[in-house]
Amino acid sequence: MKEKYLINARLIDPKNNMDEFGGLIVDSKGQIKAAGKKVANGNLPSGAEKIDLKKQVLIPGIVDMRVFVGEPGYEYKENFRTLSDAALSGGVTSVVSMPNTSPVIDNVSMVDFLKRRGRDKSKINIFPAATLTKNAEGKQMTEFGLLKRKGIIAFTDGTKTIQDPEVMSRIMNLASQSQTLIMQHAEDNILSKNGLINEGEISTRLGLKGIPFLAEKIIVERDLSFLEEYYCRYHISQISSAKTISVIKKAKKDGKIFTAGVSINNLSLNENDIGDFKTFLKLSPPLRTENDRLALVESVNDGTVDVIVSDHKPQDEESKRLTFAQAATGATGVETLLPLCLELFHNKSVKLKKLIASITSNPAKILGINKGSFDKGSDADLCVFDINKAWVVDKNKLKSKSKNTPVENRKLQGQVLKTFVKGELSYERV
């Protein structure tokens, strides 16, 4: 591969506190050689490839820590190829895929299959997560050691929570000896049983069983208590309520080291958007009140929450064309993650650098991968976007195999123009 000079760009790299005009050099191995204003427009070596970015924004490729792909078992919802196309058009170059497939990703043989399929069918980096417990049943631990040797970098039961406190304490104890990353979907099963949306006025009016915020808070509190005894790399996948933020804020202030994420859905929507039983907004964790949303936005701003995820969960049409109680949970999001983040910048809710950090450098650091920054020697996964471009979400134009976007017809500002993976131009908007 020839050296590439990406010039005339506005480079934003939160890790290096960079927001300046300049260029970026990709070396022959697809890694970053240099970046910043020092990379000038003139005097390029004759053999190098030059790409003029015309003053558009250049950021590290987005790292999305929570994505569902339908392989194996649900290929009709999303396969590696369609996920890759969708991700690239959203500037996402790395994803952590959730293990809630059929069969579940809980043993080394499954990992080989996934890695092979991911490599052959997709252009993005797939980091499969394996489950914490066999068949994600919350009982018998999986083989962390063997799975890590196969390249698994994160463990989670995905949509499920480890309910049994004894099992969770042992998982954390074991993870603490090997520096294994544990990601918990925080929701008490019993409190949230049959729950469909946030418990509150809307659930009372719609006559839908509510999921109390306590279901989330109680698990976070429990796990943080364990963390005191069994210090491991612990990450809360997604939080949804203001009360949980208070718990996290206090724990971080007390010196506990752990991280937390939030879904872009909970930052961009609230329970009122469910309106007349819109099943596309049946999500887990549920959309909560506007006050919760505002608190979550603020928690991104002040660093209480480290990561924003798309929680991309494709569902075929049939599984959503049902009554609210029967409809499947989840919404697609990998293509709209960046524009929705930019919405929070345009409406002056969150600083741009904070937003970019929460989808690039922060997740890369948590996962321990060589991505998410313009550091010399890190992988040249890059995203170029027009920060002001206005567009309207049209589900038929999105590339995901499933069309369950939660923001259909939403007017957004900011659109991805080019995406590079390991220095190769993998996507370009036409």
Partner: protein, 316 residues
């Protein structure tokens, strides 16, 4: 009813009756006005009319029901419609068919009106988006049961002349009750003051936001009330640890002559049925012809449903 009579040519822009939340004061008044004419008809020896002759009405019941289903069936027949009642509880849905598929199948038979009862809140809304005919909600999950609230209003108006200014207590399992929700919306709309009375575990979150006062003490909740509306306590609630026992519930929340004394002297007792005698209501009170209007509720139910069928069916 004075105000109501003055109104003319009430328009029903909506094609469906999905809930009290979707209809206006004048529309409610129109439904009540038309229902009144049917009360008289229903008492006469020749009950059959031909307003809906040639029209097809399908009763689609995904939950077991005796009184609501027979009430709708009778209402349709008295108006001259061809009525077909389907109990889906033990048919298509057991074979894996979705609500929409069932709806599309029925839609192909060109019904003019579908009356639906479904255990899932919002099911009638979904159905109404997929069929070409009018949809009437006969109870969905815990959300709404509009015709029940309308017949309750008609019963109250028949006895008290109006709803406005009355104090109404709705007592019992508010959490799981669609009757409670529809009645809260309707009685508020008609100008009543509404209390809800239940143990805390059976009060929905933020219920005050619906415009009611919530009480956990029957004495306070019934104080000065004109109407005491009792709700059925479903036995399965006992197992979900909402309550300790039926006898404790009866002791504190069952309607007994003693507790009724706290309401106004001539307060009326209502119940949407079916009743659990000795659980939520004293058996003698339920049968007290001076106080209990439970049988009238059933009687007026047919009239209300006739009015709703007539108004909404005509549109298609």
């Amino acid at each position: 009813m004075a105000v109501i009579k003055k109104l003319k040519a009430v328009k029903f822009i909506q094609n469906h009756l999905l809930g009290i939340q979707d209809i206006s004061f004048s529309q409610v008044a129109e439904i009540l006005k038309q229902a009144k004419t049917f009360i008289t008809l229903n008492k006469s020896s020749s009950k059959k009319m031909d307003i809906l002759r040639g029209k097809t009405q399908i009763n689609l019941f995904f939950e077991p029901s005796t009184r609501t289903q027979s009430s709708f069936e009778l209402a349709g027949k008295r108006l001259g419609a061809d009525v077909m009642s389907m109990n889906i509880v033990n048919s298509a849905i057991k074979k894996g068919e979705t609500l929409i598929d069932t709806a599309m199948t029925l839609n192909a038979m060109h019904p003019d009106i579908i009356v639906i009862r479904h255990p899932d809140s919002g099911a009638p809304n979904l159905l109404s988006q997929k069929v070409n005919c009018a949809v009437i909600n006969a109870g969905d999950g815990r959300r709404e049961h509009p015709t029940q609230a309308l017949l309750d209003a008609l019963t109250i108006i028949n006895r008290r002349g109006k709803v406005e200014g009355l104090k109404i207590a709705i007592c019992g399992d508010i959490l799981h009750s669609r009757v409670a929700r529809s009645n809260i919306y309707l009685m508020n709309m008609l100008g009543a003051e509404v209390n809800v009375v239940a143990p805390k575990t059976l009060l929905p979150h933020s219920i005050e936001r619906l415009g009611v006062k919530a009480f956990t003490d029957m004495k306070k909740g019934l104080d000065g009330c004109d109407i005491v509306m009792m709700l059925r306590l479903q036995n399965e609630r006992m197992h979900g640890s909402f309550l300790a026992s039926a006898r404790e519930y009866y002791e504190f929340f069952g309607l007994t002559p003693d507790k009724l004394k706290l309401a106004k002297k001539n307060a009326l007792i209502m119940h949407p049925g079916p009743m659990n005698r000795g659980v939520e209501i004293d058996t003698n009170l339920a049968d007290d012809i001076n106080r209990s209007v439970i049988r009238e509720q059933v009687e007026f139910g047919v009239a209300i449903r006739m009015a709703c069928l007539k108004i909404f069916c005509k549109k298609t």
